[in-house]
């Protein structure tokens, strides 16, 4: 069975997409969890500011999720464009 170059590229792109999203999901997942844990601590210390803390947590998580979004973009590019 002869394997052509183009096919190897395709196969590599699929594996690469999987790894990009899979490994890329680890960091944001842990980081956002840390944010949530600290937000819980902050609410435990100062429950009156719950609304403000929730919003701060969401903004922080959104920023730390951006690397996850980059992985998603790269994975989708590998799947559909390459």
């Amino acid at each position: 069975m002869a394997i052509e170059g183009a096919e190897i590229v395709k196969a590599a792109a699929f594996i690469g997409a999987g790894l990009a999203m899979g490994l890329g999901a680890i960091g944001p997942g842990v980081g956002e969890g840390m944010v949530a844990a600290k937000a819980c601590e902050a609410i435990g210390r100062n429950p009156k500011e719950a609304g403000l803390l929730t919003r701060t947590m969401l903004v922080g998580q959104a920023v730390s999720e951006s690397t996850g979004i980059y992985s998603l973009v790269v994975a989708l590019l590998l799947l559909f464009v390459v």
């Binding site: 919003r55 959104a62 951006s66 980059y70 973009v73």
Partner: protein, 224 residues
Amino acid sequence: MGELGRLHQLIIPVFGHNITINLEVMVMTWIVFALLIVLGLFASHKRNILPRPIQALGELIVSLLYDLTEDALGEELAQKYAPLICALFMFLLLSNWLGIIPHLEEPTKDLNTTLGLGVMGFLIAHYAGIKSKGFKAYIKEYFQPIFFMMPLNLIGELAKIVSISFRLFGNIMGGSIIILVVSYLTYNLALPPFLYGFFGLFVGTIQAFVFTMLTVVYISVQVK
């Protein structure tokens, strides 16, 4: 095991395109609607200062969800959005619980249901955002912190729809697959009732709450 992933579908050809309707999901959704309407009628029928149990239950749910919306959105907007949030939560709760009745299935097991609700939440949140901030300020937010971040911000917003709807779908579908497989492996002895309790009632309630909370949060992030 063969029934895994099979659906009853109605396919209508219209001008060369096929419109596919998942009959089962549609009927199940109607059942949930009917249950909700009946429940609402009973809860609001012959209202009294001294509430009957069903009226008390209805008041409890509504006031809990109202407080929740008010905490996140403030009093003014809560008046507007609380009915939506109540309806969303009750619909999701009953949908997730429907699977514990034999021969009925959760409508939320179908991606179309959850995706539809996710898109609805997204549109409402952005409508609320445009209305409170004005169109210019709304567009400006996409170009933060620097202008070339626009495509990534846009994808980040759209990814919210994906994450909210796939979360509900994945949890409910995963739970029902586990129940199906375990009942197959143990010949329907012992475990399934416990699993129905865990995945149907417990996870179903949590996920309905999470979906509702996230919709509220998305609205509040857009508004403020």
